[in-house]
């Protein structure tokens, strides 16, 4: 009987420590994300109806923007590791891709600006962009401990 429980204990402890250790980064990322959601919720002061319309669209926007930004950062990181090994042509194409990715991000922002407008008043859309900026400042403020 005890043998079975020892197995369970080993599994729980191994799972707890190994996965937790490996997942530290994604865990922190999720924590910051939920903090951002809390921050925006407080700043926008949405009505129940507005919130029910707005958040599914905003989540979709976050997913798409994250995918674009991650792809761009991956490219930048790979080029910064061994920039000497690339030819001028390759570097130029990398920069072109960088501009293309940024254009895609702007296009996505425009597309979702139009979607946000249908779910919340324009004034609150402006407040949203402001809150996103303020959130970054708030992060820096908290990290610096002020």
């Amino acid at each position: 009987m005890w043998y079975k429980y020892k197995i369970w204990l080993v599994i729980i402890l191994t799972g707890f420590f190994s996965v937790r250790l490996l997942a530290q980064n994604s865990d922190k990322k999720e924590k910051i994300e939920s903090f951002k959601v809390a921050f925006i919720t407080q700043k926008l002061n949405l009505t129940t109806k507005e919130a029910q319309q707005f958040w599914p669209i905003y989540n979709e926007y976050l997913d798409k923007m994250e995918t674009l930004k991650n792809a761009r950062k991956k490219e930048l990181r790979s080029s910064s590791i061994s920039i000497e090994n690339y030819t001028d042509k390759e570097l130029e194409s990398m920069l072109d891709n960088e501009f293309l990715s940024k254009e895609k991000e702007v296009e996505l922002s425009k597309e979702y600006f139009n979607k946000f407008k249908t779910s919340i008043p324009l004034k609150k859309v402006i407040l949203l962009y402001k809150a996103e900026d303020e959130f970054k400042r708030e992060l820096l403020r908290q990290i610096s401990g002020k």
Binding site: V19, P56, T118, S119, K136
Partner: protein, 386 residues
């Protein structure tokens, strides 16, 4: 069986670690589904329960369960004007439960296995309505007897969920379930009061009543009362030595206790619950027998045993592994209800899901702890720092 289960657990652990590493790699594609593929394992052990009418007889029950669910198809319709598009999801699900009842009047060990595979479908229309349907056929076997012919049974449910606001939702539906053993057709009536990520009260007939308290993004404490039960077939010659007929074993019990859920990371979580198992009864009768003999003392001649049992203690523990990435659902209230429906109703008749569904915890205090510059540097670009 134990060795197979241990190998499976170790495989889950290795996969969980692997998927954790992979998920940290840069995500190339936008996630397609709202639900992550999930594997769960749990074990329920109850103490000896004496018969209320005869203290010499007793019964105990242990159950191990391995299950999974995974998204098969997700279709999100685009919004039209200010009307939110619908989300349709199909989820594959299955589990294998291995129950070992021990009766003081039967010396041989019976290993009763239920294997079910099925699908769930969910439709979120707009911001308030969720329709949930689930169909789960299962095979019940007595692994201790080769002569027992496995029985195929079917459970299903339809639920309509209305998300009134973030603090209140209600559910109505209909189910065919063996949770209440002999009464398979049941209405589903439920409601929730309170936000999912704060202290909330959940009443879900016929499954459970609970008071769930998410303390932070990792820990949830629940006080609960839930029904567990089932209908099994077994074959025992010492119980009814003069016949080869099969015996139907029905059990029903109510577990009242406290559960501690710990979400260690996006990949791994576990729960531990302890409490009393009460309001319990067992029924054993021959298949096709309509005779009723409530005199449990006359076991040798009885076709039928119907006994109420004294309460006892139980321990229930489980682990859960979720893999990959899912779409974000922050403050998406009807999706919260859909995820909760899938967690609590999608896994079939065992009613042994973790009390805390994978719903994000939104902090109330705007204060981040233990965050360093390296954790957030990816969020900033040069033109942000003016």
């Amino acid at each position: 069986m134990i060795k197979i289960k241990n190998c499976f657990l170790i495989l889950c652990l290795i996969s969980a670690n692997y998927f954790t590493l992979v998920s940290q790699e840069v995500q190339k594609e936008e996630p397609k589904h709202y639900i992550k593929p999930t594997v769960y394992l749990n074990r329920l052990v109850t103490g000896k329960r004496t018969f209320k009418n005869n203290k010499n007889e007793n019964y105990s029950f242990t159950q191990s369960n391995i299950g999974f669910y995974f998204p098969i198809y997700t279709k999100t319709k685009p919004n039209v004007g200010d009307k939110l598009g619908s989300v349709f999801q199909i989820i594959g699900t299955g589990n294998v439960s291995r129950a070992i009842p021990k009766f003081s009047f039967i010396s041989s060990k019976h290993t009763l296995v239920r294997t079910n595979f099925g699908i769930s479908a969910m439709l979120n229309t707009g911001t308030k309505n969720v329709f949930f349907a689930n169909i789960l056929p299962f095979i019940a076997e007595d692994r201790s007897s080769l002569q027992y012919k496995p029985t195929v049974r079917l459970t299903y449910m339809f639920i309509y969920n209305r998300t009134v606001n973030e603090r209140f939702s209600y559910r109505l539906g209909y189910a065919k379930t063996y949770l209440l053993s002999g009464r398979p057709r049941q209405p589903i009536i439920g409601f929730r009061i309170g936000k999912f990520d704060r202290l909330h009260f959940n009443f879900q007939y016929p499954r459970f009543v609970s008071l769930d308290w998410p303390l932070d993004e990792h820990i949830t404490i629940s006080f609960f009362n839930k029904v567990m039960g089932g209908i099994y077939g077994m074959r025992n010659l010492e119980f009814r030595g003069d016949t080869y007929n099969s015996i139907l074993f029905k059990r029903q019990e109510k577990l009242t206790g406290i559960e501690w859920d710990y979400k260690s990371s996006n990949v791994f979580s576990f729960f531990f619950s302890v409490g009393f198992v009460g309001n319990n009864s067992i029924i054993l009768n021959e298949v096709n027998s309509k005779k009723v003999n409530r005199n449990y003392l006359d076991i040798a001649r009885a076709n039928f045993i119907a006994a109420k049992l004294e309460p006892s203690l139980f321990i229930n523990l489980g682990v859960q592994f979720s893999f990959g990435k899912a779409k974000k659902i922050y403050n998406n209230l009807s999706m919260y209800d859909a995820i909760d429906l899938n967690s609590n109703f999608g896994s079939g008749d065992n009613n042994d899901a973790m009390k805390s569904a994978p719903i994000p915890y939104i902090p109330s205090q705007l204060k981040l702890k233990a965050i360093q510059l390296k954790d957030v540097e990816d969020l900033f670009e040069l033109d942000d720092i003016n």
